[in-house]
Protein backbone atom coordinates (compact mmCIF):
# COMPACT_ATOMS: atom_id res chain seq x y z
CA UNK A 1 0.00 0.00 0.00
CA UNK A 2 2.75 2.43 0.96
CA UNK A 3 4.44 1.48 -2.29
CA UNK A 4 1.31 2.63 -4.11
CA UNK A 5 1.36 6.00 -2.33
CA UNK A 6 5.10 6.38 -2.95
CA UNK A 7 4.46 6.35 -6.73
CA UNK A 8 7.98 5.13 -7.44
CA UNK A 9 9.47 8.17 -5.74
CA UNK A 10 7.29 10.60 -7.70
CA UNK A 11 4.56 11.01 -5.08
CA UNK A 12 5.32 14.73 -4.79
CA UNK A 13 4.34 15.20 -8.45
CA UNK A 14 1.64 12.58 -9.13
CA UNK A 15 -0.58 13.23 -6.10
CA UNK A 16 -0.64 17.05 -6.34
CA UNK A 17 -1.69 16.67 -10.00
CA UNK A 18 -4.65 14.44 -9.07
CA UNK A 19 -5.42 16.48 -5.97
CA UNK A 20 -5.49 19.78 -7.85
CA UNK A 21 -7.81 18.30 -10.47
CA UNK A 22 -10.15 16.89 -7.83
CA UNK A 23 -10.24 20.13 -5.82
CA UNK A 24 -10.73 22.39 -8.86
CA UNK A 25 -13.54 20.30 -10.36
CA UNK A 26 -15.35 19.81 -7.05
CA UNK A 27 -15.09 23.52 -6.11
CA UNK A 28 -16.41 24.57 -9.54
CA UNK A 29 -19.34 22.15 -9.21
CA UNK A 30 -20.20 23.37 -5.70
CA UNK A 31 -19.96 27.05 -6.67
CA UNK A 32 -22.19 26.45 -9.72
CA UNK A 33 -24.78 24.56 -7.67
CA UNK A 34 -24.81 27.19 -4.91
CA UNK A 35 -25.28 29.97 -7.47
CA UNK A 36 -28.22 28.10 -8.99
CA UNK A 37 -29.83 27.55 -5.55
CA UNK A 38 -29.35 31.24 -4.68
CA UNK A 39 -31.00 32.34 -7.95
CA UNK A 40 -33.90 29.93 -7.41
CA UNK A 41 -34.44 31.36 -3.94
CA UNK A 42 -34.33 34.94 -5.27
CA UNK A 43 -36.84 34.11 -8.01
CA UNK A 44 -39.19 32.47 -5.51
CA UNK A 45 -38.92 35.54 -3.26
CA UNK A 46 -39.52 37.98 -6.10
CA UNK A 47 -42.49 36.02 -7.42
CA UNK A 48 -43.95 35.82 -3.94
CA UNK A 49 -43.63 39.60 -3.51
CA UNK A 50 -45.28 40.13 -6.87
CA UNK A 51 -48.19 37.84 -6.02
CA UNK A 52 -48.77 39.69 -2.74
CA UNK A 53 -48.66 43.17 -4.29
CA UNK A 54 -52.28 44.41 -4.60
CA UNK A 55 -51.46 46.92 -7.35
CA UNK A 56 -49.94 44.30 -9.59
CA UNK A 57 -51.84 43.94 -12.79
CA UNK A 58 -51.24 40.25 -13.21
Amino acid sequence: MSEFFAMGGYAAFVWPAYGAAAIALIVLLIVSLRTLRAREAEIAKAEGARARAPTDRR
Binding site: Y10, V14, P16, A17, Y18, A20, E40, E42, I43, A46
Partner: protein
Protein backbone atom coordinates in the same frame (compact mmCIF):
# COMPACT_ATOMS: atom_id res chain seq x y z
CA UNK B 1 -31.34 26.51 -34.55
CA UNK B 2 -34.16 28.45 -32.98
CA UNK B 3 -35.89 25.31 -31.79
CA UNK B 4 -33.76 25.54 -28.68
CA UNK B 5 -34.08 29.30 -28.41
CA UNK B 6 -37.03 28.88 -26.11
CA UNK B 7 -35.65 28.81 -22.55
CA UNK B 8 -38.57 26.70 -21.33
CA UNK B 9 -37.77 24.08 -23.96
CA UNK B 10 -34.09 24.27 -23.03
CA UNK B 11 -34.96 23.82 -19.35
CA UNK B 12 -36.99 20.69 -20.14
CA UNK B 13 -34.25 19.24 -22.33
CA UNK B 14 -31.55 20.13 -19.78
CA UNK B 15 -33.56 18.61 -16.94
CA UNK B 16 -33.82 15.31 -18.81
CA UNK B 17 -30.09 15.24 -19.66
CA UNK B 18 -28.76 16.34 -16.24
CA UNK B 19 -29.23 13.08 -14.24
CA UNK B 20 -27.65 11.05 -17.05
CA UNK B 21 -24.66 13.34 -17.54
CA UNK B 22 -24.10 13.53 -13.77
CA UNK B 23 -24.22 9.74 -13.43
CA UNK B 24 -22.00 9.31 -16.49
CA UNK B 25 -19.35 11.68 -15.13
CA UNK B 26 -19.29 9.89 -11.76
CA UNK B 27 -19.03 6.43 -13.34
CA UNK B 28 -16.53 7.40 -16.05
CA UNK B 29 -14.28 9.35 -13.68
CA UNK B 30 -14.46 6.53 -11.12
CA UNK B 31 -13.50 3.93 -13.72
CA UNK B 32 -10.93 6.30 -15.22
CA UNK B 33 -9.23 6.83 -11.85
CA UNK B 34 -9.21 3.08 -11.18
CA UNK B 35 -7.54 2.35 -14.52
CA UNK B 36 -5.23 5.36 -14.26
CA UNK B 37 -3.96 4.64 -10.76
CA UNK B 38 -4.21 0.85 -10.38
CA UNK B 39 -4.50 -0.99 -13.68
CA UNK B 40 -2.31 0.90 -16.13
CA UNK B 41 1.42 0.10 -16.09
CA UNK B 42 4.24 2.50 -15.28
CA UNK B 43 6.12 3.84 -18.26
CA UNK B 44 9.46 2.22 -19.04
CA UNK B 45 11.12 5.65 -19.23
CA UNK B 46 8.94 7.95 -17.15
CA UNK B 47 8.07 5.54 -14.36
CA UNK B 48 4.99 6.49 -12.35
CA UNK B 49 4.93 10.10 -13.54
CA UNK B 50 3.17 8.87 -16.68
CA UNK B 51 0.01 8.75 -14.55
CA UNK B 52 -0.06 12.55 -14.63
CA UNK B 53 -0.91 12.15 -18.32
CA UNK B 54 -4.38 10.81 -17.45
CA UNK B 55 -5.28 14.20 -15.96
CA UNK B 56 -3.08 16.45 -18.07
CA UNK B 57 -4.06 15.32 -21.58
CA UNK B 58 -7.86 15.16 -21.03
CA UNK B 59 -7.67 18.59 -19.33
CA UNK B 60 -5.81 19.96 -22.37
CA UNK B 61 -8.40 18.48 -24.75
CA UNK B 62 -11.21 19.99 -22.71
CA UNK B 63 -9.47 23.38 -22.58
CA UNK B 64 -9.58 23.50 -26.39
CA UNK B 65 -12.98 21.82 -26.78
CA UNK B 66 -14.67 24.21 -24.35
CA UNK B 67 -13.05 27.20 -26.05
CA UNK B 68 -14.39 26.10 -29.44
CA UNK B 69 -17.82 25.75 -27.82
CA UNK B 70 -17.59 29.26 -26.35
CA UNK B 71 -16.63 30.57 -29.80
CA UNK B 72 -19.52 28.75 -31.52
CA UNK B 73 -21.97 30.08 -28.92
CA UNK B 74 -20.51 33.57 -29.44
CA UNK B 75 -20.93 33.34 -33.23
CA UNK B 76 -24.53 32.15 -32.84
CA UNK B 77 -25.19 35.01 -30.40
CA UNK B 78 -23.70 37.64 -32.72
CA UNK B 79 -25.22 36.39 -35.99
CA UNK B 80 -28.63 35.00 -35.01
CA UNK B 81 -29.11 36.76 -31.66
CA UNK B 82 -30.05 33.43 -30.18
CA UNK B 83 -31.28 34.30 -26.65
CA UNK B 84 -29.49 31.40 -24.98
CA UNK B 85 -26.17 31.58 -26.84
CA UNK B 86 -24.84 34.55 -24.83
CA UNK B 87 -25.77 32.81 -21.60
CA UNK B 88 -24.13 29.58 -22.77
CA UNK B 89 -20.87 31.36 -23.62
CA UNK B 90 -20.89 33.11 -20.24
CA UNK B 91 -21.67 29.85 -18.43
CA UNK B 92 -19.01 27.79 -20.23
CA UNK B 93 -15.94 29.99 -20.13
CA UNK B 94 -15.15 29.58 -16.38
CA UNK B 95 -15.34 25.80 -16.91
CA UNK B 96 -12.88 26.08 -19.79
CA UNK B 97 -10.61 28.32 -17.73
CA UNK B 98 -10.58 25.69 -14.96
CA UNK B 99 -9.55 22.95 -17.39
CA UNK B 100 -6.84 25.20 -18.87
CA UNK B 101 -5.47 25.99 -15.42
CA UNK B 102 -5.45 22.27 -14.59
CA UNK B 103 -3.65 21.54 -17.85
CA UNK B 104 -0.94 24.10 -17.04
CA UNK B 105 -0.64 22.99 -13.42
CA UNK B 106 -0.41 19.25 -14.13
CA UNK B 107 1.93 19.94 -17.03
CA UNK B 108 4.21 21.82 -14.67
CA UNK B 109 4.10 18.95 -12.16
CA UNK B 110 5.01 16.56 -14.97
CA UNK B 111 7.67 18.83 -16.47
CA UNK B 112 9.70 19.22 -13.28
CA UNK B 113 10.57 15.50 -12.85
CA UNK B 114 10.75 14.65 -16.58
CA UNK B 115 12.14 17.77 -18.24
CA UNK B 116 13.89 19.16 -15.20
CA UNK B 117 11.92 22.41 -15.24
CA UNK B 118 8.52 23.63 -14.05
CA UNK B 119 8.12 25.92 -17.02
CA UNK B 120 9.74 26.82 -20.35
CA UNK B 121 8.63 29.38 -22.91
CA UNK B 122 8.02 26.56 -25.34
CA UNK B 123 5.52 27.24 -28.14
CA UNK B 124 2.93 24.78 -26.82
CA UNK B 125 3.16 25.96 -23.22
CA UNK B 126 3.06 29.62 -24.19
CA UNK B 127 0.07 29.25 -26.51
CA UNK B 128 -1.86 27.39 -23.79
CA UNK B 129 -1.00 30.18 -21.36
CA UNK B 130 -2.42 32.61 -23.93
CA UNK B 131 -5.57 30.46 -24.03
CA UNK B 132 -5.86 30.82 -20.25
CA UNK B 133 -5.58 34.61 -20.55
CA UNK B 134 -8.21 34.60 -23.33
CA UNK B 135 -10.57 32.80 -20.96
CA UNK B 136 -9.82 35.32 -18.18
CA UNK B 137 -10.37 38.19 -20.62
CA UNK B 138 -13.67 36.67 -21.72
CA UNK B 139 -14.88 36.26 -18.13
CA UNK B 140 -13.82 39.83 -17.28
CA UNK B 141 -15.43 41.36 -20.39
CA UNK B 142 -18.78 39.61 -19.89
CA UNK B 143 -19.05 41.26 -16.48
CA UNK B 144 -17.39 44.57 -17.37
CA UNK B 145 -20.50 46.54 -18.42
CA UNK B 146 -23.62 47.62 -16.57
CA UNK B 147 -25.58 46.61 -19.64
CA UNK B 148 -25.19 42.81 -19.89
CA UNK B 149 -25.87 42.77 -23.65
CA UNK B 150 -22.87 45.05 -24.27
CA UNK B 151 -20.67 42.82 -22.12
CA UNK B 152 -21.88 39.73 -23.96
CA UNK B 153 -21.21 41.32 -27.33
CA UNK B 154 -17.67 42.47 -26.49
CA UNK B 155 -16.86 39.09 -24.97
CA UNK B 156 -18.24 37.30 -28.04
CA UNK B 157 -15.95 39.31 -30.32
CA UNK B 158 -12.97 38.50 -28.09
CA UNK B 159 -13.88 34.79 -28.15
CA UNK B 160 -14.04 34.78 -31.96
CA UNK B 161 -10.77 36.69 -32.40
CA UNK B 162 -9.11 34.35 -29.89
CA UNK B 163 -10.20 31.36 -31.95
CA UNK B 164 -7.05 31.86 -34.05
CA UNK B 165 -5.11 30.57 -31.04
CA UNK B 166 -6.76 27.12 -31.20
CA UNK B 167 -5.02 25.84 -34.37
CA UNK B 168 -1.81 27.49 -33.15
CA UNK B 169 -1.98 25.39 -29.97
CA UNK B 170 -2.79 22.25 -31.92
CA UNK B 171 -0.01 22.73 -34.49
CA UNK B 172 2.57 24.39 -32.20
CA UNK B 173 4.24 21.02 -31.54
CA UNK B 174 4.70 20.48 -35.30
CA UNK B 175 5.68 24.03 -36.24
CA UNK B 176 8.25 24.57 -33.54
CA UNK B 177 10.54 21.77 -32.51
CA UNK B 178 10.75 22.59 -28.82
CA UNK B 179 10.40 20.71 -25.58
CA UNK B 180 6.77 19.58 -25.66
CA UNK B 181 6.22 16.29 -27.47
CA UNK B 182 3.98 16.08 -30.57
CA UNK B 183 0.54 14.43 -30.65
CA UNK B 184 0.31 10.70 -29.95
CA UNK B 185 -3.45 10.11 -30.07
CA UNK B 186 -5.06 12.64 -32.40
CA UNK B 187 -3.23 11.75 -35.56
CA UNK B 188 -4.29 10.10 -38.77
CA UNK B 189 -2.66 6.70 -38.27
CA UNK B 190 -2.80 4.39 -35.25
CA UNK B 191 -2.32 6.12 -31.86
CA UNK B 192 1.29 5.81 -30.69
CA UNK B 193 0.26 4.60 -27.26
CA UNK B 194 -0.35 1.21 -25.71
CA UNK B 195 -4.03 0.20 -25.19
CA UNK B 196 -3.28 -0.23 -21.46
CA UNK B 197 -2.58 3.51 -21.32
CA UNK B 198 -5.15 4.55 -23.90
CA UNK B 199 -8.04 3.04 -21.87
CA UNK B 200 -7.64 5.26 -18.76
CA UNK B 201 -6.89 8.25 -20.98
CA UNK B 202 -10.13 7.90 -22.94
CA UNK B 203 -12.14 7.10 -19.79
CA UNK B 204 -10.87 10.25 -18.07
CA UNK B 205 -11.53 12.32 -21.20
CA UNK B 206 -15.10 10.99 -21.43
CA UNK B 207 -15.55 11.68 -17.71
CA UNK B 208 -14.33 15.28 -18.12
CA UNK B 209 -16.72 15.72 -21.06
CA UNK B 210 -19.67 14.43 -19.02
CA UNK B 211 -18.62 16.69 -16.14
CA UNK B 212 -18.48 19.67 -18.52
CA UNK B 213 -22.01 18.92 -19.81
CA UNK B 214 -23.32 18.56 -16.24
CA UNK B 215 -21.77 21.76 -14.90
CA UNK B 216 -22.72 23.71 -18.04
CA UNK B 217 -26.38 22.73 -17.67
CA UNK B 218 -26.34 23.87 -14.02
CA UNK B 219 -24.62 27.16 -14.92
CA UNK B 220 -26.87 27.96 -17.90
CA UNK B 221 -29.91 27.38 -15.69
CA UNK B 222 -28.52 29.86 -13.16
CA UNK B 223 -27.90 32.37 -15.98
CA UNK B 224 -31.48 32.00 -17.28
CA UNK B 225 -32.82 32.65 -13.77
CA UNK B 226 -30.54 35.66 -13.37
CA UNK B 227 -31.82 37.15 -16.62
CA UNK B 228 -35.40 36.55 -15.55
CA UNK B 229 -34.68 38.25 -12.22
CA UNK B 230 -33.19 41.26 -14.01
CA UNK B 231 -36.25 41.49 -16.26
CA UNK B 232 -38.54 41.31 -13.24
CA UNK B 233 -36.64 44.09 -11.46
CA UNK B 234 -36.65 46.20 -14.61
CA UNK B 235 -40.40 45.73 -14.93
CA UNK B 236 -40.85 46.68 -11.28
CA UNK B 237 -38.97 49.96 -11.57
CA UNK B 238 -40.81 50.76 -14.80
CA UNK B 239 -44.18 49.82 -13.27
CA UNK B 240 -45.61 53.39 -12.82
CA UNK B 241 -45.11 54.07 -16.51
CA UNK B 242 -46.85 50.87 -17.30
CA UNK B 243 -43.90 49.51 -19.24
CA UNK B 244 -43.59 45.78 -18.92
CA UNK B 245 -41.41 45.28 -21.93
CA UNK B 246 -39.20 42.28 -21.57
CA UNK B 247 -40.65 41.08 -18.29
CA UNK B 248 -42.35 38.10 -19.86
CA UNK B 249 -39.73 37.30 -22.41
CA UNK B 250 -38.29 34.62 -20.24
Amino acid sequence: MHRFANPARFQRLAASILPWSAAASAILLGAGLYFALFVSPRDYQQGETVRIMYVHVPAAWMALFVYVNVAIASAVALVWRHPLADLAAKAMSPVGATFTLLCLLTGSLWGQPMWGTWWVWDARLTSVLVLFFLYLGHIALVNAFDDPTRGAKSAAILALVGLVNVPIIKLSVDWWNTLHQPASITRLDVPAIDPAMLTPLLLMAAGFLAYFITVTIIRVRAEILERRLRAMRLAQTAEPAGALVGADRL
